[in-house]
Symmetry: D2
Subunit: 359 residues, 4 copies
């Protein structure tokens, strides 16, 4: 009912505020007997953590995980896996100025009205800090998916008006991690980085797009009619802070296409059923068809800008708010591991659900 | 687990295949003591039903509903409301040609692999006929929302390359229903209709966009962090047949905007908190902020075209399939009531969920 | 939220009132490719239906089922299976006397207060007629369980003070169906039948116990810590009309036993792990241990008696109500198939859930 | 699916093993703006904790709670409340002897078979230590229920053959806490304590009964047909370690009663609708009727006894196991707060669910 639990077979329950003692996640549904590598979890945490480069927020959080349960002698036991991440570098004083006023395009106003009470420090639960818990859970899902040779790679494909024109045919972690923006094309990456630095200098922020490619999914994942694979992926992405749009395969470009152009013709290749084109984005009728699953996620510019903005306070009176604290000028580089984590969570959930299908 | 139940507080469970005896829906969670008008439900059914105009499929289905439970002397009793819709005009013979072969960009192949068994007639459960059950349930939700003055209007804003440039500031059912394409601007509507007729003559199909505007939502609907209002709306839309993309407010256009342009500045107007712009699309931090909720849904061109297409059969051998049966050249006019129904279901669900929030 | 959906992997959604047009059930989660026998479903319906013998209610309902979806050419397709049962022999006039007054120990008063509106005819949704939908769903589960050699037999083990002292070591449908009370011991059965006839003549009713034995469950069903196998069985039984108690294995008799008496010592027999005694009732730590699952369900006497009873009406004024309509003097003979159905639903749910456990 | 989440509106997700770093719980669904007293939570923890008296296990655990999220300046914020309880006094060496063998009537064997992997130390997740997390969550629910004047009192009503014959008409915490067995009658209490000491000296254990009385529930809680109030209470109780039976109101004694004896006649008293008797136990048709909710829970004798017992090991070979570690000779005194906690969780869940009922 209250929205902090995600998944049906691989269920995660997250908690925590930006400036409270800790954030964390409990997984109920991890298969037993899975080898769990803590260092692989930490690796994902490090990709998301603040302070990792010059174009992200300078808040310093090690985001060191502690596994509290569900793993014994290196393997999952089938009982809940709970992971704790202590907050360390809170500077709550930075936020006293928004205790009673609402920042534009933030969740201050809506949280206040919805709950009648809020932890205003750093945005409380509405802070993207919350996504660290998702990344921890996603990292465990990822280890399971690797056993089935399912590989998930997300990368930055647009920042402002700078667009990565061509998706590389081979994608891997190394290629994406070679630069701080996480764009697999070095030249485009360097343009994006320069642009973000410029935007930052202006005290402003900028939007972007993350593209995600999932390789190795068998045919059959997705549960029509409501829990279609791309519907669950879409929800997962739209639940990430700052996301305004989601499209799979052809997406919005399908709108001006004809059926005769858009249909993905089946062909047999090396004894495998494939499709000539992949406008479907790897999902047909809500079920994976064995082709790459490809989708795009639109992120708005971060709402916190280092400029004076007109706003209102608790009493509805006019006021001026100005960004303080430490913030990202562009959210996409740090959002890459979040997109991958949420994708991993959706795919493992559907893999496990699919196990109950056949008599 | 299996994906045919939607909602948490207002839960619907749907069933039925295109060419089976019936389709239907059971609602568990309709508030008691609500006056239920059968004719208002039938009105929504009539807007979605096939055979209603020259630009939609000519299958003839009255889609007459029968309420089997949960309503007594015109009022809901708080027990499940089950609605039955018999299939009447099945022409199953039309489908014998696809018994053993897979139509491109349809769900034939994926259903076959997922379930190892399928009712191939008319696409079985993967047929958009399934959405009639959603419309019936949505019509009941709509009657409830009307009590809170929540109004939901969807309309066609693009067909192929023909775009409705300006969203009218006043929107209502009559304006949208004045033409068979359901576009509130008569001139654009007429261009869209002409274009669809042309496409149909070519034996082809075309995509489109539906825009939806929800007016009258109070502040506070939406359940962070996973069940954000726009995440649930997005999932609801992406679960509709042929949908490839979803965006809220600024959507994909946010990508190239700066924070200083995109932020919606709060202002007080007539003693109400509003925002100057509405790039947020009525949702901030996953919670409605009292402004209009505005989103866009991208539909691909219908996969069934009246042309020969290369494909494969059950054994993986090459074959040719050609569209038979009666199909829509463009899905958007009939999808308008479906988009409204799914929106109604999401909003009522969150309205009821919100009731559990405050101590 | 509203309580008409049961199960997690094999989910049933039921609807219908005693005197409405129909009752029914939709199953979301039946494995695909299962051969479904309609006549086996009907057989279970016939065991539950009213009018089947001289010691049950004389309401005449054929309870003929119609499968509306999810089965194609005799096999499940993996999509929802919906089953419709029309009400035929409603005599709603019999109930006008309770329109405004509340029968003692019935749900009239609580439904009225909870929902502010109720279909009073025949008790509406609170009537045990609702359980016909459960039996239909359970009959499909049973066909699936048979494939794994899981056998469920329930029988009457007590009526009033007449107790079946010894559970037969071999149990089967034929043995239980050999008499109208469904007690596997002919002599005890005949005493029970005579007693019920006597009670009926007095215009009174009597309670009873049903014992259920589940054979053939593999080790590993049950999901600690909350969805322990016996906890889910207990809830399933307590959700049946008129049930007041549930115990597994030693049950309440465990209370005065010592650990040294109660512990079930493990022994190897024919290369199988078994226990010498079975005080655990086949479940240890909430998980099936491979022994017979044995539990007992206590039913209160039917609340409708053919006598004047003091009560109150809608306004809280004193009134007298007298049983009319057609009712069972003792609920247990017809409850036997209901207990079996609910058991089947719990076991299939846990069988499917267990499939997601191992990596 | 995996069973570690409980509740629908007030959802708790628990984790932790007996000898792991910690156990804990996350609540998703606590109403916002509730004043939360940490000391009242700790008070409940102290009632459950080991080492509190001479008749319980001597393991020393302070069970100090740490609130990690969801509470700000003493009030709930509506976001998840996570509570952490570190394990301190694990003596894991005590358990090396059961690494490869299965204790009779414990969960060692079933966990091993189900998950293929287990944390054997102290029973891992199957240990009753897990219930500390339930007590913490229940303590928050209790604070909410107190606002509605709902009072829940459980007490020991039987140990072995020693029975508390009469339930006191007034019940309160002080009366129950006046002795270490938690029986409100001092004389019976003292007999029970003596008996447990005797049993302990024999290295044996003994069963018992806890009775629970819930006062102050309004009419209308409970969600037919499956989530009847007593069905959810029953499941909650049966999910507690060592519970073998549950009965509400008349319970198993209803079996030999006639309808004319058992029916609870409605009477108006002080302008309130009440019933003369309360064989229903406060629930009719699955919905609370405003009378006291009364139920009884049967606990088996603790499985760990300080004696040699025949058993088998991982390879199925015969072995002898002997209780080591620190254990309770009788579980009921410490189970009293657990029964209250689970009752609180069920009642708050239904209170919140009921809020969604009326139009």
């Amino acid at each position: 009912m209250r929205g902090n639990i995600f998944g049906k077979a691989f269920k995660i329950s997250t908690y925590g505020e930006s400036h409270g003692p800790a954030i964390g996640v409990t997984i109920d549904g991890c298969p037993s007997n899975l080898e769990i590598s803590e260092s692989l979890i930490q690796e994902e945490m490090d990709r998301r953590r603040p302070g990792q480069s010059s174009i992200v927020t300078q808040r310093q959080e090690g985001d060191t995980i502690e596994i509290l349960s569900g793993v014994f002698e290196g393997k999952s036991t089938g009982t809940p896996i709970s992971i704790l991440i202590r907050n360390k570098d809170q500077k709550s004083k930075d936020y006293s100025h928004i205790k009673d006023s609402f920042r534009p395009s933030h969740a201050d106003y809506t949280y206040n009205k919805k709950y009648g009470n809020r932890d205003y420090r750093g945005g409380g639960r509405s802070s993207a800090r919350e996504t660290a818990a998702r990344v921890a859970a996603g990292a465990i899902a990822r280890q399971y998916l690797a056993l089935s040779n399912i590989e998930i790679n997300a990368f930055v494909s647009q920042v402002g008006h700078i667009v990565l024109e061509k998706i590389p045919t081979t994608l891997n972690r190394a290629l994406i991690e070679q630069n701080i923006i996480r764009c697999p094309d070095p030249e485009t990456a360097s343009q994006m980085i320069d642009y973000i630095k410029l935007i930052k200098k202006e005290g402003d922020t900028i939007g972007g797009v993350i593209t995600c490619v999932i390789k190795g999914c068998s045919v059959g994942l997705g549960e029509p009619v409501f829990d279609k694979l791309h519907a669950d992926l879409g929800k997962a992405m739209l639940s990430i802070n700052a996301v305004k749009g989601f499209e799979i395969g052809s997406g919005f470009s399908a709108v001006s296409m004809k059926g005769s152009e858009h249909n993905d013709v089946f062909v047999k290749k090396d004894n495998l059923v494939t499709t000539k084109t992949n406008f479907s984005g790897g999902v047909q009728g809500g079920i994976s068809n064995g082709m790459d699953i490809v989708f795009r996620v639109a992120f708005k510019p971060v709402a916190t800008i280092m400029r004076d903005q007109q706003s209102i306070d608790k009493n509805g009176d006019s006021t001026v708010v100005k960004g303080k604290g430490r913030h990202d000028p562009c959210v996409v580089p740090r959002a890459v591991p979040i997109v991958e984590a949420m994708s991993s969570l959706v795919i493992i959930d559907h893999l496990l659900r699919q196990r109950t299908t056949l008599a």
